[in-house]
Symmetry: C2
Subunit: 204 residues, 2 copies
């Protein structure tokens, strides 16, 4: 075995990445140290050379989840700005695709209901992430918005709530309705043009 100079760091990052995906799909409790390390191609013993405990891993993983999410938002928004950026973000957020790929999805929506399972070590990272998302959203609102932070906070609640609900629900039709109704409502509330779409309650 030859160890390059940053071997350990690379391994750590691979473990973190795998953990972030696992946490989003199976929750913080659903991740096992042994299974996680095996996924990375290692065995469970070496884990404690990288993290002091499972809780420490989760805290670090939550942090990287938010960093990845910020990068992803950048890719979605591209060079748009203001309300156009907000529209692109909302439209990409409330899709069946985002719903079905929680492992790459928004950490807020994934951790929304996991407050009980989330170790105390990981809480500050979550708070920071939520704050950042609210601030970002507020910055994209039209300049005429009277209280951008207030509106942004309400928009985030619906955005993440609708995605989480659409995931929790079993019935596909109900799930899609939840996504689409909130997408339209959010666009309207943010002062964006409404795409001409029939209410899914009426077409059949």
């Amino acid at each position: 075995m030859r160890y390059s100079s940053d071997q350990k760091l690379q391994t750590r990052n691979r473990v973190l990445k795998a953990a972030a995906a696992q946490i989003r799909t199976h929750g913080p409790q659903g991740v096992g140290v042994a299974a996680l390390m095996q996924e990375v191609g290692l065995t469970h013993g070496g884990f404690y050379a990288h993290f002091a405990s499972k809780d420490a891993l989760i805290a670090a993983a939550v942090k990287t989840m938010f960093e990845d999410a910020a990068a992803q938002r950048g890719r979605v928004i591209e060079d748009r700005s203001g309300p156009a950026a907000l529209g692109a973000f909302i439209d990409s957020y409330l899709t069946a695709d985002h719903r079905d790929r929680p492992d790459r999805g928004c950490p807020v929506a994934c951790l929304l209901g996991q407050s009980a399972q989330l170790p105390a070590l990981a809480r500050p990272a979550f708070d920071t992430g939520v704050r950042g998302m609210v601030r970002l959203m507020a910055s994209y609102l039209p300049e005429t918005t009277p209280d951008p932070m207030a509106l942004a906070s309400s928009l985030i609640a619906e955005l993440a709530g609708a995605l989480a609900l659409s995931r929790a629900v079993e019935d596909e039709a109900l799930s899609l309705r939840l996504l689409e109704q909130s997408r339209l409502a959010l666009r309207a509330r943010a002062g964006l043009a409404i795409p001409n779409t029939e209410s899914p309650y009426h077409d059949h």
Copy 2:
């Protein structure tokens, strides 16, 4: 020991009630059969006389959670009807009290992010509960609402999302802001009078 005629049923109900509270506070995985039975004053062995498996217990508990929630809504709404009922519901839902007592709170908000942990047996009960809540909300909206079901679905997403977010967040001030902003936004969206409250972003 004397067994009254409905002894078994009463025990079953006590187990269910305890399970419902545990699931809401610690999630489906956080409930242990042994600990649960001990809470009811029994030992773990008798459990399987009442439920075929832990998953079956959770499914039954989810069902009772929604029944309890419906009864609780009735108590909050009292003899109000229409928008007044809706206002009372929203105001009672987005409070620090509801946030801090998940064991007695809305099952939708508790199970929002637990989709991964929720056993398949319990999913239909959740769907039914969500549908019922949307229908109820739609029935309270002003008669002039163009598409009550569509609006109700969007309102539920924000309602449950805001409560879940306020629980997941560590910082008390942020948590209260999330509750209050969504409370005001929801009242406005439902066509209700806005109580005269300063934005918590501005007062300090």
